[in-house]
């Protein structure tokens, strides 16, 4: 896919290592990657190849050591803490492998957090959260606490929370690996249906081959590098 518009995410020579001296681990060894606006990009590869590190840099919660990362034309590393937090709050939606819902809050309250952080009134935030829960198909469970929901339902709450404030970029780290195959597939369907509206960009980290088919493009990573970018799961299998 050739993007004529400016890409949503542009990475040039991004490197990142953890630790010092002998304990130093290089997680990213020069990543070059463009992710188009309105695209669902999957990052795949073996465990430890740097997928989580890369998505953290893209989402603005981790600074790269070297190279450039621009998201919607903004250089994230150059932003100061407060500005970066505001940028994340407005622009990025998060879906985590472990759901990370607050156990003390019910589904609607959990979903409302990005809106509350944006300064919306509680009543309005809850109303919009319930509407979003409707769209991911669990509107009737808005009162339930996370502990009262199944894993699939919790991930749907998490997706609603990632989308409720209409962010332009949504990042998901292993969104289906805590779920069984059928539930995972259903969650990805919802993700495509609900999230891929307007010109929203999705970056999904996974090593779950069964959901590759939901991707527009797949970036294959190994040992801190993007080794190839393909357009379908089939292309991935066909490659030598």
């Amino acid at each position: 896919m050739q993007t004529l518009t400016e890409p949503a995410v542009a990475l040039r020579g991004v490197t990142k290592s953890y630790g010092e001296g002998a304990a130093r681990v290089t997680a990213l060894r020069g990543i070059d990657l463009d992710i188009g606006t309105g695209e669902l990009m999957m990052l795949v590869g073996p465990s430890g190849c740097g997928k989580t590190t890369l998505i953290s840099v893209i989402a603005g919660i981790l600074d790269q050591d070297d190279g450039a990362c621009s998201v919607f034309g903004r250089d994230l590393r150059a932003m100061r803490g407060m500005a970066k937090a505001r940028f994340r709050g407005e622009t990025v939606g998060f879906v985590f492998q472990a759901f990370n819902l607050l156990p003390a809050l019910n589904a609607a309250e959990n979903v409302s957090i990005p809106l509350l952080l944006a300064g919306l009134k509680r009543s309005e935030a809850l109303e919009r959260s319930r509407a979003m829960l409707d769209r991911v198909g669990i509107g009737e469970r808005w009162r339930s606490r996370p502990a009262q929901l199944s894993g699939g339902q919790q991930q749907r709450v998490a997706i609603a929370r990632a989308l409720v404030h209409q962010p332009r970029l949504v990042v998901c780290d292993e969104p289906t690996s805590s779920l069984d195959h059928e539930t995972g597939a259903r969650v990805m369907e919802i993700m495509r249906e609900v999230a891929m509206q307007g010109s929203r960009t999705l970056v999904v980290v996974t090593h779950d081959a069964r959901i590759f088919s939901y991707a527009d493009r797949i970036a294959v990573m190994d040992d801190g590098k993007v080794v190839k970018v393909v357009h379908s799961a089939k292309e991935l299998q066909d490659a030598p």
């Binding site: 590190t53 998505i55 994340r88 990025v92 472990a98 607050l102 156990p103 003390a104 952080l117 509680r122």
Partner: protein
């Protein structure tokens, strides 16, 4: 987000109650221990508290505390009366005399001889009889606690019969007839207190050249007490202090020259430390347990101010609740033990001190938590 912070705090009932108990325990310990300490220290000057009528106490310059009697010349009374701004000045005898009990044993008692004419300095609360009865022949008034314990008649079967109105006691071979029973604040020595008139007290006392213990002075309305004290000192060469100053001097003497404050203070300090650590740790643990959630909030764009506000709110809530329950518990303890030997005093200053302490504990642990949360790499949210 404030509501979110509160729900986070209270969501896990067991943990929430754990933190509350920790802080409650800490403030209970701090308040109760300090109240007992305050109570004990207040006993050192109880005899001054029991004598609220005068503005100024005049005494020998070498007197260090209320029980440290250095008698004055009788003529000093008249000198004091002559000082400008003095409304009235009365003599007070205070001394230790031996009382002979009905079974022949001796008991040391504190004898207070009050002005014959005005009876100023007499007991402030009568249980039986009237203060004026002191004007009768040989009359003495005995404090309730002393009458029931150290001065009681021991009957042949071993039971004690309290000294009562109409009974006779012997003070230094002089007859005293009990005409009343009164209440006194518990003194530090806890000997029985016997009130009589000044002139009668001087006959009870062993013959000495000087018997006047203190001159009690009331200033004329509107007179400046500090200036009055200064004038009395100039005129007599004695020391004149206000009741409050004398209480302070007395307490400071005990602070300095007895081991009480250091010994007791250590245990108060220990209670304080234990309480602080327990309360601080429980709150810190709560934040640690929620680190992942704070990380998620941070990733989702919560600003440092917002996170700080949330933690401060949580700390303030558990702090004020725990403090309230703890102080309430301490007050209840004081109430339940009010009729016992236990010294317990909880003035408002103590509440302010324990409140400040708990606030400090919460602020410090909240600060540690805030630093921890603000330093948190939001990237941990992607760690499974």
């Amino acid at each position: 987000m404030n509501l979110v912070a509160l729900k986070m705090l209270m969501g896990d009932r067991a943990k929430y109650i754990g933190i509350l108990i920790g802080i409650t325990f800490a403030s209970l310990l701090i308040t109760q221990q300090s109240a007992i300490f305050t109570g004990i220290m207040a006993r050192t000057y109880a005899a001054i508290t029991d004598l609220p009528a005068p503005d100024v106490w005049v005494m020998d310059p070498k007197v260090q505390y209320i029980d440290d009697i250095k008698p004055l010349q009788d003529t000093q009374l008249f000198r004091v009366r002559g000082v400008e701004g003095v409304d009235w000045a009365v003599p007070l005898y205070k001394g230790l005399l031996k009382a002979r009990l009905s079974n022949g044993n001796f008991q040391t008692t504190i004898v207070m001889g009050v002005d014959d004419a005005t009876l100023i300095g007499g007991p402030i609360e009568m249980v039986e009889g009237r203060l004026e009865d002191l004007r009768r022949n040989d009359a003495v008034i005995v404090d309730e606690h002393g009458a029931a314990s150290k001065l009681a008649h021991v009957l042949p079967d071993g039971t004690r019969k309290p000294l009562a109105v109409g009974d006779v006691i012997e003070l230094n071979d002089h007859r005293g007839t009990v005409v009343g029973i009164c209440k006194v604040a518990r003194t530090f020595q806890s000997q029985p207190v016997i009130y009589t008139t000044y002139s009668r007290a001087t006959t009870f006392a062993p013959r000495e050249r000087r018997l006047l213990s203190f001159v009690l002075v009331k200033g004329k309305p509107g007179v400046d007490l500090a200036e009055l004290c200064a004038r009395i000192q100039d005129a007599t060469g004695l020391v004149a202090s206000s009741g409050a100053d004398f209480r302070w001097t007395t307490m400071m003497y005990f602070m300095k020259y007895t081991g009480i404050p250091i010994n007791f203070g250590m245990s108060v300090l220990l209670g304080f430390l234990v309480g602080t650590i327990v309360a601080g740790m429980t709150f810190f643990n709560f934040t640690l347990d929620n680190l992942r959630h704070f990380g998620a909030l941070k990733a989702m764009g919560a600003s440092p101010w917002r996170l700080t506000g949330m933690i401060v709110l949580q700390a303030l809530l558990v702090g004020s609740l725990g403090w309230g329950i703890g102080v309430g518990g301490a007050a209840l303890f004081g109430h339940v033990t009010r009729n016992t030997e236990l010294a317990f005093r909880m003035p408002w200053q103590l509440l302010a001190i324990s409140g400040t302490a708990v606030l400090l504990i919460c602020t410090i642990s909240a600060l540690i938590c805030i630093v921890k949360v603000l330093r948190l790499e939001p990237a941990i949210v992607f760690k499974s």
